[in-house]
């Protein structure tokens, strides 16, 4: 572990602005200045193919999504493919790297199935929430779950609990109807 004392001449291992004590583990990327980066705007000569987005730049890649010619500025190495920003924005890649978030239908369904019946005040809402939980569990069955947790256990649990509650409501109404 890199100790901040190693590089603070005055031996004060803290930020001089906020006095936060910290240590730093550094990597080579920290020392790369813009001057060290590859040239990204080679000017196109009249006989060169030019970038679709920057006519003044020479094309050096082809977008694997739409086939447009791209200069290094527009080439995005995305999930092992070289794509243009337009393709990424349009969601033409299904790579998991493109996903910024997911809705967890299993979590919502399970909450609807579990929480309302637990509380004295809210148990009667289960007449609405139980069918909703069942519907969401069915809706979410083929929807992608979390990137890092793919089990359908929650969906199954939500379905079972919802069906039990729906059954209980049906039994309640049926017993009220047949009661003399």
């Amino acid at each position: 572990m890199f100790k901040a004392e190693n590089w603070h001449r005055d031996g004060m291992p803290c930020c001089q602005r906020c006095s936060t004590v910290y240590e730093l583990v550094d990597f080579p990327a920290l020392y790369q200045s813009p001057e060290n980066r590859p040239e990204s705007t080679a000017a196109a000569l009249p006989e060169d193919a030019s970038c679709f987005f920057h006519a003044q730049n020479r094309a050096e890649q082809v977008c694997e999504g739409c086939g447009r010619f791209l200069c290094p500025v527009c080439t995005v190495n995305f999930g092992g493919r070289k794509l243009c920003p337009s393709c990424i924005a349009q969601g033409q890649t299904k790579a998991p790297e493109a996903e910024q978030g997911r809705i967890l239908w299993d979590g919502i369904a399970l909450s609807l199935a579990v929480f309302p019946p637990l509380l004295v005040v809210t148990w009667m809402f289960s007449i609405i929430t139980a069918p909703a939980a069942l519907g969401l569990a069915i809706f979410g069955w083929n929807r992608p779950s979390s990137l890092v947790r793919g089990s359908r256990l929650r969906l199954v649990l939500a379905m079972v609990l919802a069906i039990v509650q729906i059954g209980a409501w049906i039994f309640l109404f049926a017993s009220l109807l047949v009661k003399p």
């Binding site: 590089w7 603070h8 930020c15 550094d26 990327a29 790369q32 200045s33 910024q100 919502i108 890092v148």
Partner: protein, 211 residues
């Protein structure tokens, strides 16, 4: 490191950590780190490509102390109360275990810390890591992977692998780097000017190498 858990292409680096409003975890894919923030109803993914990681910043936190105080006071309160009211010994033992085990576990896990990841455009806290021991374990695990991913990059010649770096970032995620010339941080080439901390100098060079 504990036995790794895999899910698809992801390897879990840190177990799920609960906090206010959800839980966090940290995963390693082929060429990036992925921090997952979840509320239970939605996930949010933050990816940090190994080739882009400039460093980790580790800050001490008082997490262990505060948890120790809370658990200790609550445990002592319940145990003393059950003794004062001459409750059955099983109640006293139950309170003792209820608070004593988490208290011991809190102590065994070691001191707390906050881990920040630094890239060229952001300084983000990795909330899944909150203890110093696991933090160091993960950094040591990631170090060769990151250096391999950045094999084409080099450090300035006068800096070894643990070299001087000017950092002026606080917890607010201010840009961490002082401006330097062609691969050299400014503070590595010239002594830092002593400058009073203030709003007008958030990125002032802070330090110089000791060597």
């Amino acid at each position: 490191m504990a036995k790794p858990k895999f899910f698809g292409p992801y390897r879990r680096l840190a177990p799920v950590r609960m906090h206010l409003g959800g839980y966090s975890s940290l995963w390693l894919a082929k060429d990036y780190l992925m921090a997952v923030q979840s509320t239970g109803y939605s996930d949010k993914y933050s990816r940090f490509y190994l080739r882009d990681i400039q460093g980790f910043m580790v800050e001490d936190s008082e997490r262990r102390f505060y948890w120790g105080v809370v658990l200790g006071l609550l445990g002592a309160g319940f145990v003393l109360t059950s003794l004062l009211v001459r409750a059955h010994w099983a109640y006293t033992l139950a309170w003792l275990l209820l608070f004593g085990i988490p208290l011991a576990w809190n102590h065994v896990k070691g001191p707390g810390c906050k881990l920040y990841i630094i890239t060229q455009v952001q300084t983000s806290r990795l909330q899944a890591i909150s203890r110093r021991a696991r933090c160091e374990e993960i950094i040591e695990f990631l170090r060769p992977l990151i250096e391999e991913a950045q094999a084409g990059l080099s450090r300035p010649g006068n800096l070894d692998t643990q070299a001087a770096v000017p950092v002026a970032a606080g917890a607010t995620g201010a840009a961490p780097l002082a401006e330097g010339s062609a691969g050299e941080p400014a503070a590595a080439t010239q002594p830092a000017e002593p400058e009073a901390p203030g709003e007008n100098s958030p990125q002032a060079p802070l330090n110089t190498p000791s060597a």
